[in-house]
């Protein structure tokens, strides 16, 4: 079996374990029927709902039914969104399909994470390369301090401080919400702070290692221009740790967005997760966690595969 195939299967198994864990753990918080109808529901109404939603079946049967549904893209219906109380005769009439709700929120999160990456990748690499190309100078010190600050700051606190400064005091930008580009500036900057610091740190140390190697001296001796040596020769060889870090930070962005979306009332998946948790909307919690986990696991898989591109001699798996 090829390495890639085995990694893909491993990832799918991990995803299945995660989804199953969320399914079973979710049952620990109490009776789903009571959750849906609220404490004022009559016993008759509860019983009717249990029959309609299949909650009287044994748990393993419900689980198989749930997993079977996932295969066809059916993640269940929300307890809260568009939920019609009885008399519903079958499950589809109970509420809005949760997967639709999650997918509707996904573009906003992608936009935010994409904007943060678009800021942090070039800026972080530039800062790291500059520091490594001029070691022990003032620029190096500044980069070191800024990148440590970016890693040490609490993201949601930074967001609140930016709101105080730019939205409340200066009034230049909106405090939150979703709309034109002005709404995206503060959340994207907030989310970018940490990846800028991490990418700058790892770029600096990887480039310091590379720039000390003989091939760099050779290239310089041949008269290759300095920026070409740095950006074409050394940076490509320093790519593995940098790409790994970018991948790590991309998955961190997807979950870090939970807090940033909350602060800025940005209607993405993160805000949806918080809302669904506070409303105990179990199907919605299950679906949004499944989607985010799938995204994060996929990003981690892609990072693994990208090793091959940057360093073909690395033997992956059992060897070629």
């Amino acid at each position: 079996m090829s390495y890639a195939l085995r990694r893909i299967i491993n990832s799918l198994v991990l995803l299945l374990i995660t989804i199953s864990f969320v399914f079973f753990a979710g049952r620990l918080i109490g009776d789903p029927a009571l959750n849906m109808l609220g404490p004022g529901a009559t016993p008759a109404a509860l019983e009717k709902l249990r029959i309609v939603a299949g909650l009287n079946d044994p748990l393993w049967q419900q689980y198989l039914h749930y997993i079977g549904g996932l295969m066809t893209g059916d993640f269940g219906v929300s307890y809260r969104f568009g939920f019609s109380v009885l008399p519903a005769l079958d499950l589809a009439e109970l509420g809005q399909p949760v997967i639709d709700i999650v997918l509707e929120r996904l573009p906003a999160t992608f936009l935010l994470a994409g904007a943060a990456l678009a800021i942090s990748i070039p800026l972080g690499i530039f800062m790291g390369v500059t520091a490594a190309a001029h070691p022990r100078t003032f620029a190096d010190r500044i980069v070191t301090v800024l990148s440590l600050a970016g890693v040490s700051v609490v993201q949601f606190w930074l967001g609140l401080m930016l709101i105080v400064l730019f939205a409340v005091q200066l009034g230049w930008l909106p405090t939150g919400g979703y709309g034109d580009i002005r709404h995206a500036i503060l959340p994207a900057l907030t989310l970018a702070a940490r990846p800028i610091g991490r990418i700058a740190q790892v770029t600096r140390s990887a480039m310091l290692d590379e720039l000390a190697k003989p091939y760099v001296i050779t290239a310089r001796a041949k008269g290759v221009q300095n920026h070409r040596v740095i950006y074409h020769h050394a940076l490509k060889n320093a790519a593995i740790p940098i790409v790994t870090m970018i991948g790590d930070e991309t998955s961190a962005l997807l979950t870090g967005a939970i807090l940033v979306e909350k602060i800025f009332a940005w209607p993405g998946v993160g805000l949806l997760i918080i809302d669904s948790l506070s409303r105990s909307d179990l199907p919605l919690i299950q679906a949004s966690i499944a989607v985010v986990a799938a995204l994060v696991i996929t990003v981690n898989l892609l990072v693994d595969f990208s090793y091959r591109y940057f360093k073909p001699e690395i033997t992956l798996g059992r060897g070629r």
């Binding site: 753990a25 606190w157 930074l158 409340v168 939970i258 909350k262 918080i274």
Partner: protein, 317 residues
Amino acid sequence: MAETLNTLPPSDGDESRQVRIGWIHYVRAILRDYVTLFALAFVVALVAFTLGADFLAPHEPTGLNLRDRLLPPASTGRNGDFYLLGTDELGRDQFTRLIYGARVSVSVGVLGALLSAIIGVTAGLMAGYHGGLLEDIVMRLVDGMLSLPSLLVALFVLFILGGGFGNLILVFLVLHWMVFARMARGLALNARGSAYVQAAVAQGCKSGRIIWRHILPNIMAPILVLFTLEIAVLILSEASLSFLGFGVQPPDASWGLMIAGGREHIRSAWWLVAFPGLAIFFTALSLNLIANWARAVTDPVQRWRWLAPHRISGISQ
């Protein structure tokens, strides 16, 4: 070779003038490095305030004083009380609350990191030294759990179990032991082939003795560095989870919870959000700086630059 790793290179090329590295070199190195010195001073002060909160806090943590509500930093109340960092919506002194909040935030970080380290290092050392099926299982688990979105899993588990100090530490243990396991396994793998372990094996040491008495002391330095970094990571995570309402629960106060409480007054009383965040920031920054420094002075190849009797120009982290 071992001798040269524990000595400093002679300053004038005279081999007889080699100096063994002692604690005095570390003290001198840290006194010379103002940034690390500041970080260390901050952490020492933080620990002192955390342990001695009852003696050092200027006010009562729950001392309501409704006439002195929402006073800005460095103001004096009606009774002549001085509030260094201002007061909150109930007239409680914010500096005092920060000190008591530090108790919770710091102990969650330290306890969480300590338990993760114990479990993770044990699993990693066993896996790395014994190899085989054990290693396969541990590393499969480590790789799998590391590729999960940890904040999201933490949120969900705390939603099921409920927040609070104990559950928070439990969640951190479950989600962070892998970091230590991965590192310890790599270090144990390296150590297994080294001469000192081979010598111990040849003398008939049992594997438990080799792991705990021979390998562990030799790999302590990188593990302590990671431990320091993990405390910072956990303090940041605690703040996030508590801010969202899934971590520490009132009446316990942590820094993250204080930011959440101050958020309602953000337009009129910025200091209620600013100072708890700064406390977290300086704590995490100090721990990062100390970890960087510790990594440098415990690196056998690099450390002479820091420990040399004379300042060597142009060292930086």
